[in-house]
Symmetry: C2
């Protein structure tokens, strides 16, 4: 029997990898909905290959182009954020893969779990921004979250068959990014190209910058807190430059379980779509004779202040993780556009965290207001 799936962000890095997975598992996975932002050309190609029922382009012009091209193929084309949220809330799919980037991915996750649809979640901002709202909604509708992040997928795989009570801690591994050994005195000179040059993983731009600042590890700590319902003190970070061990759990008897493999996002994507099965796949496997030595070191909090900011946000909870995430989104965007320096990113986030109006239990509307405030706060920072 085929599983029906929808893919939000199908022309991005996660979406393209997901369609690679569907290509070799076409007898098991059936794509019914796709969404993208502006890349009309790639969306048209994807539609011709995978024949979804409905697609959404956020950008109106792109939607127009796709509509014109596909009008004879019987594929419904919709547009705009309203179209996206409507697609995310449809009940007639087994799994929705949320491959959207940044805070805009949060509401579609909420729409899907409201509809009782399981979400394969790559968009870590969903839980960082609205972990409380999403988990409470899941309790009501029975929808589940299947992590797609390689780290959280690793932990999820290690937890299969285990009792959460028996877990002492989880250990998120991080490569340390491209600046793990760069002299800290030169961090102010880091260029966009340098920051986009990740040593192990081929990912989208936003998450690659987050790897360079190690904010991605900070966001992952917050995400892990919501996914696995552990105390923040049970979530540790270990720097592991080879990105072979994707994360670990330590059990109360001292046994540690790890998930390993080549750094390839298709593995966690396929597992989230095929859960609980590990289906056959054609890609490269890890060769222990060629992978080199596996090394570990502690995270450097002076070099990567974003990690500490994330732990601070968990301590404060309420709106703190949301403002951390929003300020990071806008700061990374500014850095990518050459408006600020690499070292400004943590300063801007810290400033927004300190100045924002903290609320204990923010509503969705509170988060929208916070979003507007944070955008102004980041753009006015000097």
């Amino acid at each position: 029997m085929q599983k029906t799936i929808s893919i939000l962000g199908s022309t991005g890095s996660i979406g393209v990898n997901a369609l690679n997975v569907v290509r070799h598992l076409s007898d098991k996975l059936d794509v019914v909905y796709l969404s993208a932002h502006t890349n009309a050309e790639r969306m048209i190609e994807q539609c011709r290959e995978f024949h979804p029922q409905t697609v959404v382009m956020i950008d109106e012009n792109a939607a127009e182009i796709v509509h014109t091209e596909l009008t004879l193929d019987g594929i419904e084309v919709r547009s705009g954020r309203r179209g996206l949220l409507d697609l995310a809330g449809r009940k007639d799919v087994d799994v929705m893969l949320n491959g959207l980037v940044g805070a805009l991915g949060m509401e579609p996750t909420l729409e899907a779990v409201l509809a009782g649809v399981d979400v394969a979640l790559s968009n870590k901002e969903s839980l960082v921004m609205a972990g409380d709202i999403i988990t409470k909604t899941m309790e009501k509708t029975g929808a589940r979250l299947f992590p797609v992040d390689s780290e959280h997928s690793a932990i999820w795989q290690c937890l299969v068959g285990e009792s959460l009570e028996d877990v002492r801690r989880i250990i998120l591994t991080g490569s340390g990014g491209p600046f793990r050994t760069r002299s800290i005195n030169t961090f102010g000179d880091i260029t966009v190209d340098e920051a986009l040059n990740h040593p192990n993983w081929d990912m989208g731009k936003k998450i690659t910058i987050d790897s360079a600042t190690m904010m991605n590890k900070g966001l992952e700590v917050i995400e892990a807190y919501w996914l696995f319902q552990l105390d923040p003190s049970q979530v540790d970070i270990v720097v592991h430059p080879q990105s072979i061990i994707h994360s670990m759990i330590e059990l109360k008897d001292g046994s540690i379980k790890a998930q390993l493999g080549v750094p390839d996002m298709k593995v966690p994507i396929q597992y989230a779509l095929m859960y609980p099965r590990h289906a056959e796949a054609p890609w490269e496997r890890l060769n222990f004779m060629e992978c080199g030595d596996l090394t570990f070191q502690p995270p450097d909090s002076e070099r990567f202040p974003c990690i500490k900011l994330a732990y601070d946000a968990i301590d404060q909870m309420g709106t703190a993780p949301a403002v951390l995430n929003l300020a990071n989104d806008y700061a990374v965007y500014s850095f990518l556009n050459g408006k600020i320096r690499f070292t400004d990113i943590p300063k801007i986030i810290k400033n927004a965290m300190e100045k924002h109006k903290w609320l204990k239990n923010p509503s969705l509307n509170d988060l929208k207001v916070l979003n507007k405030w944070t955008k102004l706060c980041v753009n006015n920072y000097s």
Copy 2:
């Protein structure tokens, strides 16, 4: 509720470690039977601390000493191999830990599974000798085997919650023993003390020599075949000198799961006794900042011919694994007694494998006859 357990070989390395586990989990584990070979003094200490109902000493003189000491404590003392097999066949325990060394450990395993009792199995010779008889008996009685070997425990832990169908292969790790880097030209000069000096694990003498010849990896391949019902081609060996990763499974999607920890037999012993739970334990944990780099290399078949002999035995099946194991038992015993050289061990095994009368489906009696033949064959080798 307490689990009732019996421990065969309680004064040996596995037994002593098991009682260390029981000591800190005395509210969950209740020792009802103990057995040992000759160490009366240690057995008396163990009885005074753990108050079993019945103990067996294989040696008659040792039994007499223990009986005299414990006559007022209300502990039944029995003796001899008959006493051991009777104890192993008692139905009124939840788990029997078989910590016996060598081929003599096989029949007690069979007695326990015949009685429908789950066996925490450290004695790998049980499955190597009589895998077919034991697994067929288990099918009838519903008894289960819980591996205690660190490698098989690791694989068992990694398989929890997974479907065997989804496993591509299992990867047994081995330290490579004390002679991994020693010049092969000097192997003829290896002394007993050198061979007993294992770099990572503190174990009994027999298994320490098996680590030095890497025959232990060969026996583990055969044991894994019976425990996990995989094709021999799905069982690989990787040398990992640090003994931090205790073994791994590779799933069909390329995901690899590994179990790691400090090299401490108490971890797999506790897991086998507490399965499926990972109960709290007081011992040292793995510190990733201090464990050093993890490295891998292929096994060296020229240096360690015993590995190839074991794969040959699986290819031939029938009595081949049994004669491999028996010849190894007697050859290691001769080496420990200074009668043969280290490099004679594989030659003696190969000779016995070639000369023995191969049977496809040996009975228990066939194996006893084979045992006598092999003892003569090994002792007459020159």
